[in-house]
Amino acid sequence: MLGVNLTSPTYLEQICDLTATGSADYVEILIDNFLSCDAEDLCDVLNGTPVAFHIMNSKFLERDISDLRDVAPIIKRFISVCNPIYVSDHAALFSVDGLPTPILRELDYAKDGEHVINRVATWQDLLETKVYLENFPSILSQESGQPEFFSEIISSTNCGLLFDASNALVAEMNTGTAVKRWETLLSHTSHFHSGGFSHIPEGDVWIDSHDQHLATSTRDYLQLLLGAQGIASSSTTLTIEFDHNIDFDLWKSDLQYVRTMAIRDHRSA
């Protein structure tokens, strides 16, 4: 299944159009931004379109447990009413010394394992569902690797991996962590993400910016990952993300490319 992300009402009409015309099969909703809404209304507006839930600001690794206990029933209510394909969140930090950072901060993979395991287990218990954690678009190198860290978290908590292919490519370009190192984990996941990224020349840094269409390297990597089975399988999902400078023609073009990957793969074989 092929999905598009919805982060605000601004593009609701166009997103609904993408699903109505068959460009996308489901909508991944950034549920944080709609927690004040009525859950039944959310389903009604989307008119039966399948949904997935992405969580950005739960800050479940840092927020007080008592606050997580307060928010969990609200998210659970949406889960109960909308029956999302998956629920995903971020294994990342949002603050330093208690002060919010303007961008996500990467975990320290050598030190944070035990805390993350405890919190992932707690968050899944509170939500009463499996949570799929998205891999981080690393910028700075660490001695301990992210793929191995995720492997430990997943085996300890039975959480899922929401594998963001473009994030893995960004991390590879910035830190040298080869995408190949994710291989053993990929056989255990069926939920994928991809989005556009951009380059900052000063410092030679790649940023997961979601402000443009998929890079050729991302398309090639997706072909490698999903080409054989494609997204035809109902249990495999791929969300193509676009958050800024949204160009719906480019978005449709990416969706069309991924939609036909399996066909191309069979022909080339």
């Binding site: 709609f34 809404c37 209304d41 330093v96 208690g98 950072t101 000063e202």
Partner: protein, 179 residues
């Protein structure tokens, strides 16, 4: 890398990944602040980045959290900084209060279960409210409210702002909290 550099990007060697990351964070902060203050941004023009840099340094030194209250902190700091003279018409407090109310309404993890916030400046009796949407196809609404009742004198806009906020599911606020 010292993670505090994401809050206050000082003294980094340029052309490094650390520099690029810290300045990407600063650019994100620029948008978080100025995208909601069109009048201030237009007035400050090319000084906006310098002003922000000083503000970020002040927040870092004073341990000020730039959460949904960031525009109130910025207003309070700017009003008493040397940059106040760059604003010939003074500080439009309503713009800062509207930005704050909007940020509250957009952060659904704050004051869970409440749909409305009112931000008041008790020194001027200015009041701005925001309403969280109840439907997926509604937007956050920010509204200017009629003068808030106060025992404070309201004839001197120049005096120090006294920002407070209250939350509810109507416009009736039971408890005011200082910002």
């Amino acid at each position: 890398m010292n993670a505090r550099l994401l809050i206050n990007p000082q003294e980094l060697q340029s052309n490094t990944k650390e520099y690029a990351l810290a300045h990407f964070a600063a650019r994100t902060n620029w948008h978080k602040i100025y995208d909601h203050l069109p009048t201030i941004e237009t007035t400050l023009k090319d000084k906006s980045s310098d002003v922000l840099r000083e503000f970020l340094k002040h927040c870092d030194t004073s341990n000020i959290a730039l959460d949904w209250t960031r525009h109130i902190h910025f207003a309070r700091w700017l009003e008493h900084s040397n940059h106040a003279k760059l604003l010939p018409n003074g500080l439009d407090r309503v713009e800062f209060m509207a930005a704050t109310a909007s940020a509250w309404a957009h952060d659904n993890f704050v004051n869970l279960g409440f749909s409305r916030v009112i931000i008041v400046d008790k020194s001027t009796n200015l009041a701005v409210g925001a309403i969280r949407p109840s439907s997926i196809n509604e937007f956050v609404r920010v509204v200017r409210l009629s003068a808030h009742e106060s025992n404070e004198p309201n004839d001197t806009v120049a005096q120090t702002a006294k920002f407070e906020y209250g939350t509810s599911n109507s416009w009736e606020i039971k408890e005011w909290i200082k910002l």
